[in-house]
Symmetry: C2
Subunit: 342 residues, 2 copies
């Protein structure tokens, strides 16, 4: 099939080539809405699509942004990506997705690939953008944002919730329900994004309430997954059988703890309360449904992409702290009420 | 920062420009492994990256493939994408992800966008590639594959499980455990991929076993989500209280049914057995863990991408039917055993 050219379109639509070009570049000037619709219909009918690669060479724009994800919860990255993608669609940008497996060499490889492809901006998600990437980031010379992550490199906006505060609030919530013997299932404490800060928030709430706070109350295995939650739960029950409430640093960890509790004949929430973190779709599907800290991933992805696009257009942009909130469901029991009823 | 050129690299590495070019294009000829390593290190040190857009114009290759997803379960698409992405990395291709929301106009829009970007191939996932897309597919003139979907357009390979057979096997499994009063929670029966074929498999198994098979035994709400499962479960309990086992056409539907059963005081699997479909990560996280039909999404994504790459290299490719299997967990009770024990 012979490809139509811009000349064919102009002839067919009975307008000038310049008009077609203006409409395609969405200049908004020099044509009426009616003409625009007529030309777009002609383009559609004739199957003319400008060559984006050639256009990219002229405008020095690839029309793409890159998104780097480590291997986090599939549910978290799917929701973030969905938000990014909605924003990108509005700006007619395409999204190139790279999975770094939290591996530094793989991350560098992907950054080089994105550089080669001349992406116009990069979203670095769920990971720390360390100084190790300084050189390639400088070379790329396009805007970056970190999403649900942090950066050691200056002038890169961070879009994330306040993890310390959110974890403090989750722990406070358990304390306000009357619990005094608390434990935490953490991810890896060396994780500077979702590990250490959430432990800090947990400790802060306990200390403030003058509750016991030994290091052995904080258990973890490896990461933030279901099996890690199961394993950590066993340590808690072994070392702190007096525990009545657990703060888990992800919904998957909470799900693992709940599964292991069930296996051991411990009833949630009657014998033990559990609060999660993330509010992924999993939370509502568990039995009992999981009380958790909500991070609005889709909104976060959408906002991060919009901040990136603003930055790409040369606007000044800033970091954004997203709101979090406690979603009350069925996995936490109020011990206050129990006393009230007696 | 001044960008290095291929000339700078050749000079620095003390080789000819042609050698650098051969190495970058991975011709495999005209240079030793040692030279290759030396040149690659020089490239790394100098921060020289060839301009992929310019290279794309010369080779008529964009280095990208496009993947279209409707808004299916985040868990399913995340696993498929992970597999696609692993394969793409090995071929040094980047993956452009588009979310179509199962909307025909949005799908066309994305196909045009991918055409503009001159992707070298397209994976059409979880959706039916109807004749409505014939024109743009012909214009694009690059290989397509459907993944966990079907096509009305000739010569496009389909990578999927046999849904009729898999549903038949799931239903057979319930029957072999001694169940005789079965019901099904279906997705939308008008869905020609995951709707009608799974109903066919269910009916086939019942008829073959000469078990009751009325249309009212098959319930659905709208789609394949958690809430749909809850709503459909209520119809089953209302219209067929004699039911002892349910085949749900997705894990999320099964999760919804289990949640509603719990709310109604019906114990799974003691009062009622449930088998799901997909084997997403959710299945093992439920309480009891969900017996389900496994589709190996990550492998399917990987294979679909490899078939696409083969096709892009001009090889003959064919459709591929992926294996499925029953993953036995805790949500199905054998009624045979019950009789045995009495």
């Amino acid at each position: 099939m012979k490809k139509s050219t811009i000349k064919d379109v102009a002839k067919e639509a009975n307008v000038s080539i310049a008009t077609v070009s203006r409409i395609l570049n969405e200049t908004g000037k020099g044509y009426s809405e009616k003409t625009k619709q007529h030309v777009m219909q002609t383009i559609e009918r004739m199957g003319y699509y400008p060559n984006a690669i050639a256009r990219g060479l002229i405008n020095n724009e690839s029309g793409s942004i890159g998104v780097l994800f480590p291997e986090v919860s599939a549910m978290v990255s799917a929701e973030l990506l969905h938000g990014i993608e909605s924003a990108a669609q509005a700006f007619r940008k395409s999204v190139i997705v790279c999975n770094t497996s939290s591996d530094q060499e793989k991350t560098k490889h992907y950054l080089r690939l994105l550089y080669e492809k001349q992406v116009e901006g990069v979203i670095f998600a769920n990971e720390r953008l360390t100084n190790n990437y300084q050189r390639i980031v400088t070379q790329m010379n396009v805007p970056f944002v970190t999403l649900s992550g942090t950066t050691e490199i200056n002038h890169i906006p961070e879009i994330k919730v306040n993890d310390v505060q959110a974890s403090y609030d989750a722990t406070r919530y358990l304390i306000e329900q009357g619990h005094t013997r608390l434990a935490m299932i953490s991810g890896n404490p060396n994780d500077l994004i979702a590990g250490a800060p959430r432990i800090d928030g947990f400790k802060k709430a306990l200390k403030e309430a003058r509750l016991p706070c030994e290091d052995t109350q904080i258990c973890w295995n490896n990461a933030f997954y279901f099996d890690d939650g199961k394993i950590a739960f066993r340590s808690i029950i072994k070392n702190h059988p007096e525990t009545t409430a657990i703060f888990a640093a992800s919904d998957e960890l909470a799900a693992g703890a709940m599964s292991e509790a069930h296996a051991q004949g411990i009833m949630v929430p009657d014998d033990l309360s559990i609060i999660g973190y993330d509010n992924t779709k999993l939370a509502m599907m568990l039995i009992p449904s999981l009380t958790t800290v909500s991070q609005e991933f889709e909104t976060m992805g959408y906002k991060a992409a919009n901040i990136l696009f603003q930055s790409m257009m040369g606007e000044e942009v800033e970091s954004l702290t997203m709101k979090h909130k406690i979603i009350e469901r069925g996995s936490v029991k109020s011990v206050n009420e129990k006393f009230k009823n007696q």
